[in-house]
């Protein structure tokens, strides 16, 4: 195993500390406003729940221009008696290093894993730097299943606003569940605990220079663990409060990196997901309770406009990426007079995702275009769910997401049939597709 991401400074610090049981990594980039709170919560959690273990907090920074690194190194828990600890708190070491290589969350994680490996840590935890709802208990909930129940990966399980986590709810969660047969509700949640065995496996892989170095890291970690038979569980962490974003704003690159990683892993683990026959639940640790969450503002009109514009402008790429019937369905939705209210059906959405995955596999040189061309479709789908879920309670939203997951599972045979494409198929496919589109256009004209 090569330790490529470690700078001499980091090696020196690791050699000084020598060993640690727990390494908590916090990737950051201009998070001076929130990172102090995160460090204090982690520090308090380690002191309160694992006083007997040696712990190190590692901040892997992407070149922040604010005081992020200073905040990490200066954060203190002044009133330790308020934690009601029976033993005096032993200060956890705190390190802050800039990572090198491709700028992104994945590269930051790599540095954290390298340090954890160097310190021979038993468990490595990663948490986001912009969390506002992190509490000391999170450390307990994340670390304990690895240390005492021998799990390899602990993923978060928390309440989020119904409009938050749209990539998770519409693509990543249902697709991962359908492919690998395990229900992991937040596969790209951002907070994970990883066993020594698993983070060493991550480090041994050679795809760190791909989208994994950026936003693809979360789904990559979860998928590798699921596909390679590591033990995965979930921990209830309450609510996730952070700086939410409008799902319609500046997400093309993020979507591209996450979905690109999912599709790339589908190619790698083809044999695994093809052999999946059923879906099984994943254990959830922690006592579950209801919590309030921050509202997320979404502009669905803007997303619908982007989708309709995509129908006009991206037809040539969608025609390549989608099967005839899917393409016709999308065009009908985008170009026909708007139904009230706008509705992107589950079946059509699942077909879109499956078709894009198959095309991603078949056209390696066009992968960038294919992934980028998914954005308007995704926006259309998100707008539809936002409109539909407006009156829903949290439980109803979960029910609705469950229905989507079942639709993914129902249409799995479509994916299996289209995934392995014979050399003669494109011609037949294209002819049929063209005929279908011509017929649809004729129908639209006739009805007009």
């Amino acid at each position: 195993m090569s330790l490529q991401a470690l700078s001499p400074e980091a090696v020196k610090a690791a050699e000084f500390i020598r060993r640690a049981d727990i390494v908590v990594g916090i990737p950051s980039y201009n998070n001076a406003r929130t990172i102090g709170h995160v460090v204090r919560a982690v520090y308090a959690g380690l002191a309160k729940f694992f006083p007997q273990l040696t712990a190190v907090i590692v901040n892997s920074d992407g070149g922040s221009t604010d005081r992020t690194r200073d905040e990490v190194l200066s954060a203190r828990v002044d009133d330790q008696h308020l934690l009601l600890m029976s033993t005096p708190a032993i200060a956890a070491h705190r390190l802050s290093f800039p990572y090198h290589g491709i700028p992104g969350k994945g590269s930051a994680f790599r540095l954290i894993f390298e340090i954890a490996a160097k310190l021979e840590a038993k468990v490595c935890v990663v948490v986001d730097a912009d969390l506002r709802s992190i509490a000391p208990e999170w450390m307990d909930h994340l670390v304990r299943p690895v240390l005492f129940a021998h799990y390899d990966l602990v993923t978060p399980y928390y309440h989020r606003h119904k409009y938050d986590g749209t990539i998770t709810n519409n693509i990543v969660y249902p697709l991962t569940r359908c492919l690998y047969g395990q229900i992991v509700r937040q596969p790209i949640g951002g907070e994970f605990a990883i066993s020594s065995r698993l983070f060493r496996r991550y480090l041994a892989r050679n795809d760190w220079a791909t989208d994994v170095a950026r936003f693809g890291i979360d789904i990559w970690m979860t998928t590798v663990a699921l596909a390679e038979g590591f033990h995965v569980c979930q921990s209830f962490l309450g609510a996730k409060l952070h700086d939410p974003k409008d799902p319609g704003s500046d997400l093309s690159e993020m979507l591209k990196q996450v979905v690109g990683s999912v599709f790339a892993l589908m190619i790698e683990y083809e044999a695994v997901w093809k052999a999946t026959r059923s879906t099984k639940p994943t254990e959830i640790f922690g006592f579950q309770f209801d919590v309030g969450v921050d509202p997320v503002n979404v502009r669905s009109d803007r997303m619908i406009r982007a989708f309709r514009q995509g129908c006009i402008d991206l037809a040539e790429i969608w025609r390549m990426a989608l099967r005839a019937e899917t393409f016709a369905g999308v065009r009908k939705l985008g170009l026909d007079p708007p139904p009230a209210p706008f509705h992107f059906p589950d079946e059509l959405w699942v077909n879109v995702i499956f078709d894009f995955a198959c095309t991603y596999k078949r056209h390696p040189l066009e992968r960038g275009h294919i992934l980028s061309a998914l954005t308007p479709l995704y926006l259309g789908r998100v707008a539809s769910t936002v409109i539909e879920m407006e009156p829903f309670s949290s439980a109803e939203v979960e029910e609705r997401i469950e229905r989507l997951c079942l639709e993914f599972e129902r249409l799995r045979p479509v994916l299996l049939a289209n995934w392995d494409f014979g050399p003669d198929a494109p011609a037949r496919q294209t002819n049929a597709r063209d005929r279908e589109v011509v017929r649809h256009d004729r129908d639209v004209k006739a009805s007009a």
Partner: protein, 234 residues
């Protein structure tokens, strides 16, 4: 009178006999060569189509998008390309051999000209093909980028990119063939200059208000959005 007529007729017949004796054998030989070449071309095409499946190349053609670019139905197969190539090569070879049998200045020049031109033609064809592929690729890149960034007229932008790149390929191919070099080069420079001028005018004068509005809206949007972490949650 009769004697003169007889002499003229005898002269004509003699010349005809001479010409037939001179040109008929090579003509027949040429015909036989062309026919043989035709048969060989047919046989080679048949053999290539039967033996050479071209699976790997087919995969490459499909994955690279070349198959869809040359034949929009996607039915293009490497075996078909190779077979057609062999067919036309045999026909061309047969035709050239048949021409060279006549051994006249004209036919020699024709054969030489064709032989010298052939590599350049092939190279130009390859340049045009590569240029078209690149044009399609970058056209699509421009299209998806413009759509996702909300740039007005994304299809027009993509067409512009395609036309420009194909034009560059045509200029390079024409340069290879020594065909109207200066005309193409001048046209290329004029188009590039014109484009730069048009963009400058559009930005500087015509669209200044629009650009100002666009930038102001963008700034407003940026101001509206709260500063967020790079690690935004998904």
């Amino acid at each position: 009178m009769t004697e003169t007529l007889r002499q003229v007729l005898e002269g004509v017949i003699e010349r005809l006999q001479h010409q037939v004796a001179t040109f008929l054998p090579p003509l027949l030989a040429g015909l036989i060569i062309v026919l043989t070449a035709y048969v060989l071309a047919l046989v080679s095409r048949w053999v290539i189509l039967r033996i050479f499946k071209g699976l790997t190349i087919d995969k490459f053609l499909r994955q690279s998008g070349l198959a869809f670019m040359i034949d929009p139905s996607g039915r293009l197969r490497a075996a078909r390309v190779a077979a057609e190539g062999a067919y036309w090569l045999f026909l061309l070879g047969g035709g050239l051999t048949a021409l060279s049998i006549f051994d006249t200045d004209l036919t020699t020049q024709m054969v030489q000209g064709l032989v010298f031109l052939l590599p350049k033609l092939v190279l130009s064809g390859a340049i045009l093909l590569a240029g078209t592929w690149l044009a399609q690729y970058f056209g699509r890149s421009a299209l998806v980028w413009a759509v996702n960034e909300g740039i007005p007229g994304p299809r027009r932008l993509a067409t512009l990119v395609r036309v420009l790149l194909i034009f560059v390929a045509v200029v390079v191919a024409a340069d290879q063939l020594n065909f109207a070099r200066s005309v193409f080069l001048a046209a290329f420079i004029m188009i590039c200059g014109g484009l730069i001028l048009a963009v400058s005018l559009a930005v500087g004068i015509g669209a200044s208000q629009g650009v100002g509005r666009f930038l102001a809206e963008k700034q407003d949007r940026a101001r509206e959005e709260r500063p967020s972490s790079l690690w935004s949650h998904l």
